[in-house]
Each structure stands twice: as structure tokens, then as C-alpha cells.
């Protein structure tokens, strides 16, 4: 095992973490401000990927597709907030889960109806094709570095938005006391729609960025959604900072587990068996980490409300 391999795997973990952060930030923001569990967040991720693939295929430009993914996901988010989600704020979490699960089914079959059952093609833009050299003699895919860069920019942007702007102040106020900020005359309905659309746009951005790496297909959002939930539970529900740390922790632990566990086991048993058992253990690893963290900090690492 070389240093180059180790650096490459750490970057891989970081990149997975950044992608999860884009998903988890929206999810945790929506939960923090509106107290809503949104299972359809994965569908917004899928909408971003499909919008990017369809527009990129029509115009020939990934960048226009990327812009379209933000617009499409934010629009879809705003529409479902106004038509469906708004009716759920006062209900308990079971009703929210049922309604947003129904939205998953509607979006999945709607997407299939529009785009067909076969996966779509979305390629990395030519500007970001290929690999760059790493210290230690390795190589790393340029596009994945770019994703890490986007994650850093989004994290900074969210920090500035929430701590330095009027909108951010209202979001923080909404998190602390919803009734009071409405009583103070803030238009809470519009605020909710804006926050929901913002979260949706982040999910759509993640979908479009990842769509170029993976396959753009119906149902792509749900695996990402499950990991995003793990992230916000670890980070503390409602906390953006928690989402960032949780995402990077999950990304790095998952990647390093997949890489190191089979290798460690191979010292004790035949390689084929070590591969099987190591892979099985690695897929449990992030859930074990989550259980451990919850055992010691039941409300997550950076709980927003105490």
C-alpha cells in the first residue's frame, strides 16, 4: 500500500462526504426550520440529474444543464411545498412520512413516463475531463476535485447566508421559535417556500454533479437519501455545521472501511473470504459509527436545539 493510494482514498472519502453534504444540508435545513421530515428529498436529487441530462443533451452544454438542474429542482421544491408540504407542518411525523413517500412514487413514475425506463447519458464537461497528478506519484480524477471545490463553496455560501443576511436571520429565528417570528410580522409562508426551494436546489445540484459520474436513472435518489439521513442524525438534526461534519465523517469512514477492512482481514484468512466478509462489514460500518455516536451523544454531534 503506497502513500499515493492512501491520499487518493482520503480524497475519495472527502468527495463522497461533500456530495452527501449537499443532500444533507437541504434536508437538515428543512427539518430545522419547518420540523418536516421530507422523504421526497431524494426525488429532488433525481429531478436535478434528469434536468441536467436532458438539457445537456438538447443544448450540448453541461453548464446550461447544471443551471437547469438548479432551476428545475428549486421549482419542483417550491411547487410541492405550496401544494402538498404546506398542509403537513401541523401534522405529526407519520403523516409527513406517508405523504412524502407518496411523492417519491409519484415523481419516480412521472419521470419514467416522461423519460422512459432506460438510463440517460450525461458526461463530464470537457473542461473537467481526465485526471491530474497527485503528490506521491498517483493520479486523481479532475472532476472529483471539482466536486470537492463546489462543496467548499456551497458550505461557505451557506455559512454567509445564514450568519450574515436578513434571510439567514429569519431562518435562525424560525428554527428557534416559529410562532414568535410569525407574530412579529414575518411572512412565514414565503419564508418556508424559500427555504424549501433552497434545500431542493442543493439536492438538484448534487444530483446533477453526481449524474455525470454515475447513471442517471429512476430511483437514483433513494440510496443517497438514506445516507443523507444517517449524516443528519450523526451531525444533529437541524444543524448545518453538523451536516458538514457528519457528511465528511460518513464519507471518509465509508470509503476507508471499504478499502481497509478487506485488507486487514486478508492478513488472517484467504483473500476471497476476506473480500466477502470485509465487504459485508464495510457496508455496516457507518451504521455502527452512527449507533456509537448516538449512544454517547443522543442528539448528534452538533444538536441545534437542546
Amino acid at each position: 500500500m503506497s502513500i499515493a493510494l492512501l491520499i487518493e482514498q482520503l480524497l475519495n472519502g472527502l468527495q463522497l462526504g461533500v456530495m452527501l453534504f449537499l443532500m444533507a444540508a437541504g434536508l437538515t435545513l428543512i427539518f430545522g426550520v419547518m420540523g418536516l421530515i421530507n422523504l421526497a428529498h431524494g426525488s429532488l436529487y433525481m429531478i436535478g440529474a434528469f434536468a441536467c441530462a436532458a438539457v445537456a443533451a438538447a443544448t450540448g452544454s453541461f453548464w446550461i444543464g447544471l443551471a437547469a438542474s438548479l432551476v428545475a429542482a428549486a421549482a419542483a421544491g417550491a411547487i410541492i411545498e405550496v401544494t402538498v408540504i404546506r398542509r403537513l407542518y401541523d401534522r405529526d411525523h407519520l403523516d409527513q412520512v406517508l405523504a412524502t413517500f407518496a411523492l417519491i412514487l409519484i415523481f419516480s413514475e412521472g419521470t419514467r413516463w416522461l423519460f422512459g425506463s432506460f438510463p440517460l447519458y450525461l458526461d463530464i464537461p470537457s473542461l473537467l475531463q481526465g485526471a491530474v497528478p497527485l503528490p506521491g506519484g498517483g493520479q486523481y480524477q479532475l472532476y472529483r476535485l471539482a466536486i470537492i471545490g463546489v462543496g467548499v463553496v456551497v458550505a461557505l455560501g451557506l455559512y454567509l447566508l445564514i450568519s450574515r443576511t436578513r434571510l439567514g436571520m429569519r431562518i435562525r429565528a424560525g428554527e428557534s421559535d416559529r410562532e414568535m417570528i410569525a407574530a412579529l410580522g414575518v411572512d412565514i409562508r414565503t419564508l418556508y417556500t424559500v427555504v424549501f426551494a433552497l434545500g431542493a436546489a442543493l439536492a438538484g445540484l448534487a444530483g446533477a454533479l453526481v449524474g455525470a459520474l454515475q447513471s442517471v436513472q429512476v430511483g437514483m435518489g433513494e440510496p443517497a437519501l438514506i445516507l443523507a439521513f444517517v449524516v443528519i442524525v450523526i451531525g444533529g438534526i437541524g444543524s448545518i455545521k453538523g451536516a458538514l461534519f457528519g457528511a465528511i465523517l460518513v464519507g471518509v469512514v465509508d470509503t476507508m472501511g471499504r478499502f481497509l477492512l478487506p485488507k486487514a482481514l486478508a492478513l488472517m484468512m484467504p483473500a476471497a473470504q476476506a473480500g466477502l466478509i470485509g465487504a459485508a462489514l464495510a457496508s455496516m460500518l457507518i451504521y455502527i459509527v452512527m449507533a456509537l455516536i448516538l449512544a454517547f451523544r443522543p442528539s448528534g454531534l452538533f444538536a441545534a436545539q437542546s
Partner: protein, 378 residues
């Protein structure tokens, strides 16, 4: 008077002829039409219904249902089709885990099941059944062919598959024929979408080639990421990751990749030419290997129906086993365990105009039989 007699005779003859043919046959098709794996099921269903339509056989009635790639739904559908629809035959399942959930139960109730795709090893060996016919392959077959072919050029292969029964069957099949050294053997998660960690290991392993089995969206993700990673080691795999349903989504990253399958669009026989032409004319896209296998399944059923009544199980099973139909795969016969004896080819991904497709470059096996037939006591 004459006229009346003539009309009477005509009417009688009509009645007689309808007696000979109008025995309705109900076929239950359980396949995946929603969710991420729907592309495979849609190809299966489309080829099957097209074959039935072209045959002009009005007595066949299809009951098509979507299993959503979930074993529990497939089991419910099979029960419903057997108990309330009273189907004579069952077919359609794409995935091995669904087949394992449905087939043993169905064949135990004396319903004949014809597999157009999945071929888990258990059903080919100890758990084989006279009511179970696999028209596609035994799961190991394509991988065995790639192992055999790899011996020609490669000495140190890195192998990769998802951690589930078909994934293990795959690497077992590859290793059964591959004689070189393994640079690494990695099992990934089912449904995994990011392969950066595995690609980093491939880069570091000193392998001279990579063999992978990642069906559906997993293969698309792997190929796209691999092409961008800067690793230039040649890849190969079974035809599932390079077939017509996913090639457009992989794009040029797949060009030149060698893959194994029992069928290819350019196989030179009359039945295949007619099939590719009819499929393309009807659906405006090229057929996949799933469509080809399903087309063969439909034609096998039609051929058997013309020989024996589906109500006479023994005669109908014998008619199926004779496999007296024109397969798009050329020569086709059933082995003792009701699994195919067929050629397996090595194909290469090429570009025809703007369309990515496959052409045959070698024959890995002739009249290949699976490794489990001996364990089958039928």
C-alpha cells in the same frame, strides 16, 4: 336446401376447426417494469409480446404484471396468477433472487416455469425440476467464457462483483476457467454507485486487466468513473454491462471493451435477422440480449404448443425439451437439467454510425454446458 346444407357444413367445419385450435393458453409474465431495473423487464416484455403477435396465434392470452424488482411482490404475483388467473405457464423473471423466491414454489404446484433470464446455480443443480426450463443460461456461463478468453492475453486480473448470490456465482464462474494470477478480488455493495475506492485499488494492484460483473446502473457508474480515472488497464466483463439497454448511458467509455454473451445482433442466422429487423421496426431501438432470450422463450412455447396440448403436462414438457424452434442464437438444445447447451461468444463494443453496439470477435465455447448438470437428479 343445398345452400342450407352447404352453410351447415361450413358452420360445422368452423366449429370443428375451432375445436382443434381454440384451446386457450394462459401465460403469466412476471417481470420488472418499474424501478431502476425496468429497462431489462421492458425489453423482455416487448420481445415476448411481439413474438406472440407475429405468430398470429389467437389462443394465447398473456397476463403481464410488474414485480418492481422485489421478491415479495413477485411471490404474491405468482400466487395470484396460479390461483386466480389459472395460468398454464409462467415466465418473465429477470433477477436471480426473485427467481429463487418464485420458481421452487411454482414448479412444486405443477406449473411449468420458463426462465428468460435468471439462472441461479441452485436451480441448475440439486434443486432442478422437470417443470423448470431455463431458456437463457446458467448464471456462471458468461463469466466462465470471459475467464476462458482472458487466458489468451492476461496473466494478472483484478476481479470485482457485487456481494450477492449472482455476484459470487460470477466470480466463481470466472475463476473456474481462468488460469492466471488474481491481482485482487473485491466484492462491492449491491446498488453501489460510487467506485472511486475500488478504482484506486485497481490502480495500485499492478493488474494487467480488470474483470467486472456489475449489472444495470452499477455497471454504468463503474465504466464512466473508470474511463475518467486515468487508469488504462483493459476491462472486460459479461455482456450485461455492455448491452443495448445501457450502452447509450455509458457512452464512448465502453468502446473496444470485450464482453461475453450467448447472443449478438450480428449473429449470422435467418431467425436472428428477422428478429432484429422486427424488433427495430416495432420499437425503434435495437434489441438487447434480454430481448433475444425472451423472443426465444416465446418461440419455444409456440413451437411446443403446436405439438402438444398444454393441459397434457407430460407431452408438453417433452415438446418443450425437444426445443424444436428456430433460436436467434443458432444451435440450441436442452441439457439433462433443462438448461441450455449453446455457444458463448466474445463481443467487442463498436460504433455503427452514432450507435454503440456489439460485434462478435471470437467464440469462447462451443456447445457449452453448465457445471451443475451432474448434480441434477431428474
Amino acid at each position: 336446401m343445398k345452400k342450407i346444407i352447404a352453410a351447415g357444413i361450413f358452420g360445422l367445419s368452423l366449429a370443428a376447426s375451432s375445436l382443434a385450435y381454440a384451446e386457450p393458453v394462459k401465460i403469466g409474465v412476471i417481470t420488472t417494469l418499474s424501478g431502476g431495473g425496468a429497462g431489462l423487464g421492458v425489453d423482455m416484455r416487448d420481445a415476448f409480446t411481439l413474438a406472440m403477435k407475429q405468430s398470429g396465434n389467437k389462443d394465447v392470452e398473456l397476463v403481464v404484471e410488474d414485480d418492481a424488482q422485489k421478491p415479495e411482490i413477485a411471490v404474491q404475483l405468482a400466487e395470484k396468477m396460479i390461483q386466480s388467473d389459472k395460468v398454464d405457464l409462467l415466465t418473465g423473471i429477470i433477477w436471480s433472487n426473485l427467481a429463487m423466491a418464485v420458481v421452487p414454489n411454482a414448479v412444486a404446484q405443477d406449473v411449468i416455469y420458463l426462465s428468460p433470464n435468471a439462472g441461479p446455480s441452485a436451480l441448475a443443480g440439486a434443486k432442478c425440476n422437470k417443470n423448470y426450463f431455463n431458456v437463457a443460461y446458467q448464471n456462471d456461463n458468461f463469466h466462465e467464457a470471459m475467464g476462458q478468453y482472458a487466458n489468451k492475453d492476461y496473466k494478472k486480473t483484478f476481479i470485482l462483483a457485487p456481494n450477492y448470490p449472482a455476484g459470487k456465482d460470477s466470480l466463481t464462474g470466472f475463476k473456474r476457467y481462468y488460469k492466471g494470477e488474481l491481482a485482487g478480488e473485491v466484492y462491492t455493495q449491491v446498488g453501489q454507485t460510487d467506485y472511486a475506492a475500488e478504482i484506486a485499488q485497481i490502480r495500485d494492484s499492478g493488474a494487467d486487466s480488470v474483470f467486472f460483473f456489475l449489472p444495470g446502473g452499477m455497471g454504468i457508474s463503474f465504466m464512466k468513473q473508470y474511463a475518467q480515472s486515468g487508469v488504462n488497464i483493459p476491462v472486460m466483463g459479461p455482456g450485461f454491462s455492455f448491452d443495448q439497454d445501457i450502452l447509450p448511458a455509458v457512452g464512448d467509455a465502453a468502446l473496444g471493451v470485450k464482453n461475453s454473451a450467448s447472443w449478438s445482433k450480428d449473429l449470422d442466422n435467418e431467425a436472428n435477422k428477422a428478429f432484429v429487423e422486427a424488433f427495430q421496426a416495432e420499437y425503434k431501438r435495437l434489441p438487447s440480449v434480454y430481448a433475444a432470450q425472451s423472443w426465444d422463450t416465446a418461440n419455444l412455447i409456440l413451437a411446443a404448443l403446436s405439438k402438444a396440448s398444454v393441459k397434457d403436462k407430460d407431452a408438453f414438457r417433452a415438446a418443450l425439451k425437444a426445443a424444436d424452434f428456430k433460436s436467434v442464437r443458432g444451435e440450441f438444445a436442452f441439457n439433462t437439467n433443462n438448461h441450455p447447451v449453446q455457444n458463448i461468444y466474445v463481443r467487442e463494443v463498436v460504433k455503427e454510425g452514432d450507435v454503440l453496439t456489439n460485434k462478435i470477435v471470437a467464440t469462447a465455447f462451443e456447445h457449452h454446458k453448465d457445471a451443475y448438470a451432474e448434480q441434477c437428479k431428474m
